[in-house]
Amino acid sequence: MVTRKTHIIGKPFPLVEAQKKLTGVSCYAGDEPFGPELLHARILFSERGHARFRLLHVDAARKQEGVVALITGQELRARLGAVIEDREMLAAEEVLYAGQPLAVVAAESPEAAMAALSTIEVVYEDLPGVYDLEDALAADAPLVHPNMASYRGFEQLNPQPERNLAHRIAFQRGDVDKALSEAAFVLERTYSAAPLQHAPLETHGGVAQLGEQGELTLWLHVQAPFLQRQVIARALKMPPHNLRIVTQCVGGSFGSKVAVSVEGLLAAIAREAGGRPVRLHLTREEEFRAVFMTPAMRARVTMGMDENGRITAIRAVYDWNVGASVDPFIVEMQRIALAGTGPYAIPNADIQVNAVYTHLLPAAPMRGLSIAQVHWAVEQHVDELAEMAARSPLGLRQQNLVKGGDQLFPEFVMHANGLESCILETSRAIGWDPAQQRIQTGTTARGKGVAMGWSPIIVFPHCKSRATIQCDGENLCTVIVDGVDVGQGYYAFITQLIAFELNFPMEWITVLPTDTDKYEPDWQAIHHNLLWSTGRALLQATAELKRQILSYVSEIWEEPVTNLDIVDGEVISYATRRRLSVLKLLQEGTGEDSPPVFRATGVYEAPDREGGLGSLLQSFATTGYAAEVVVNLETGDLSVLQLAGAADVGHAINPEGVKAQLKGGIIQSISQTLLEEMRFENGVPVTIDFMSYPIATTADMPQQIHPIVVEIPQSTGPYGARDLSDHVLVGASAAIGNAVYRATGVRIRELPITAQRIYDALQSQAAKVER
């Protein structure tokens, strides 16, 4: 396969989407050119955490000049959810969180829409709210969803509805109590991580328009159009084939544009707008207040280790504050459980993952899929365990890390993987020296830390990926897939694969916008392993397309098809040395007949599986991180001097693209670890702009960034490749936390690691020494 002349797999490949993004072509939210017919939608959001409410002067608002349609929860009773419908699209009588939509309006101008909403007076009657895990799980806590059992999908969850526990995933192996009682070293610690904002630079938005036959088209900028169609159609009681979602460019998602947020309201108001197009584009403040947060985590971890440094047991409870809706988080909970031991083969394990309802903004997983937060806990814990037993953090990891052949679950044996290479190469890159604790110069101290990571790639039975390629004279080679490029280089990969398999020039290939009309309504694409699943579908489609092209030519030439091949865009015969340009074939045909059109679809459908949690596993992505930090011991100020990140991608199909993802992940990790924290007062977000919620700028970049690509082929992946982009953050924050410990002697167990937290820890450490 790799002996072909045009070998572009594994070689630098340009960004096929880049040119239009760099020249200002309209493709993002707010760009859509719809002319003077365009209406503007705005949403009225709740300003209280938990309250009964009434809306006054709604009729007056409706009658205002320029208002075309206005809907409140009194008119539209609709619930959202992919698994469990635990969100009201518009609150009817009671708000469950600040930021919950109360009304939506469409008007001739944004100003008219705002004027209408400001006419409406909201009268709140506050109710007791629960905002953190402790309060929500207290015995007398008010219930966020007292009627949870009546929601569609309730039976698919494992909740305790009498106590705000929305869902639990757990697994056990071995005998943890016995192993802990026999362990030479036992350590119990609690770690936490703050809620975050995905904060894509493009805020949520899009355009919707009702057609003459009652069909509704949405031009959106989302990661999961097929899922959104299903959820919105069900909420609005529309047949799914009457709802079409066309996906344009996505200006960043990071997990915030998977589950439905405001897209359902856009659809609802467009149905009332008499066929005129309606645009919605959230302000930055609305994006912060009213879309999604990521769930805050509390992890209680206990590990046991024998005298020889073998980790024998782990008990870990991961509690997540999912706000007022668990639905967007449900599928991640199995992955969190599967990752819950950290990347170690520990014979005795007891892992529990709990989602807890509170009166906060609904939570959706962020890039790293909450596995990053799990490692913040586990990978600091392993360092603490090493310290306790006076062992090397790196050596302890090497001794215990999971290896190919380890039977992790009855249904899953670990595959060959690059975990050890990742940790060794990253520690080498930063000049890790096990003997060196810290370097102190005056009031500043430097230290280094390491951490590893694994991130489960899971496949639900009957989940599908589909790819259709059409070759014709007009558009040459167009491709339709059911995933979406959100900046990870997905379309470049698709182009590369087709150019390689069909041996066509890449310029012939165009990936079209994802469009739900192209596939059957029940299709659900796989999101966190698009390379793997779309790759399999594309390999089927290209094989079929090549067969069609060669059969066509073989009939004309009256030569056996086995003589023929495609090389550099030409059909050639190895026997007769004849050649025919595919371009000419597509554009002019072969004389008598009209030019041919070739079309093929490939489908990957995940098989049925039986068994427990382990049966969902397809593979693990593995990573390694190493950090060097400098801390001001008087103020607690922290900077990352260098950060190395490695990932095993199986086979780097686009090596520079892989490095770009790793470098981006390094910056995002630093941002999440040092800077980011969403804060609330009485359940109302107070971090509502980039001043109060800073994200990393060029000023926060380390002096050195080391992206490292590890390649241990995955047998089932296309060309041996494995997905990366969702997994690049895993392990980085713990490496920084471990480095801070080695620089300062204080262990920060709460994310983010702020100067204040380091300062406070240094102060209490000094107080202890004085006593």
Binding site: A18, S26, G252, G487, T698
Partner: protein, 155 residues
């Protein structure tokens, strides 16, 4: 209140009627139909709406349209001529200076202003010039590299 303003936008002289409270960003996007400058925050914190105004980088969301009367404005659409991409644009394509792409027009404008001032900027100068342009994908390292390579390639 309405104002009659004249602006030179990407080399074309345009006469426009704008309202007192309208921002330059709104006028560029809605009235002139140029969608390269992006809405990101409306508070001057993210740089997605960056344009050149009389040669200086401004956040066009922070400039009131009447203030732009008589100004020369260059948006990302004005960087390339019809035939060829600007060296910065080419370099961003070649060196992965784009991920999701939403920040890219603002990054290019800040980079262009920097190269107008300093033909061969050091890495530190590039970092400083981009500090007002947020990239949530974290592509800063490749953006800086793209600018460095473009500056070396310039005539």
């Amino acid at each position: 209140m309405k104002h009659e303003i004249k602006v030179n936008i990407n080399g074309q002289l345009r006469e426009l009627t704008v309202l007192s409270h309208q921002t330059l960003l709104e006028v560029i996007r809605e009235d002139l139909g140029l969608t390269g400058a992006k809405y990101g925050c409306s508070t001057g914190e993210c740089g997605a709406c960056s344009v050149l105004m009389n040669g200086e980088v401004v956040n066009s969301c922070m400039v009131l349209a009447p203030e732009a009367d008589g100004a020369t404005i260059i948006t990302v659409e004005g960087l390339s001529d019809d035939e060829e991409l600007h060296p910065l644009q080419k370099s961003f394509i070649d060196h992965h200076g784009v991920q999701c792409g939403y920040c890219a027009p603002g990054m290019l404008i800040s980079a262009k202003a920097l190269l107008n001032r300093t033909s061969r900027p050091h890495e530190e100068e590039i970092r400083e010039a981009l500090v007002g342009n947020l990239c949530r994908c974290g592509a800063y390292a490749d953006i800086i590299k793209s600018i460095q390579v473009a500056s070396r390639a310039r005539r």
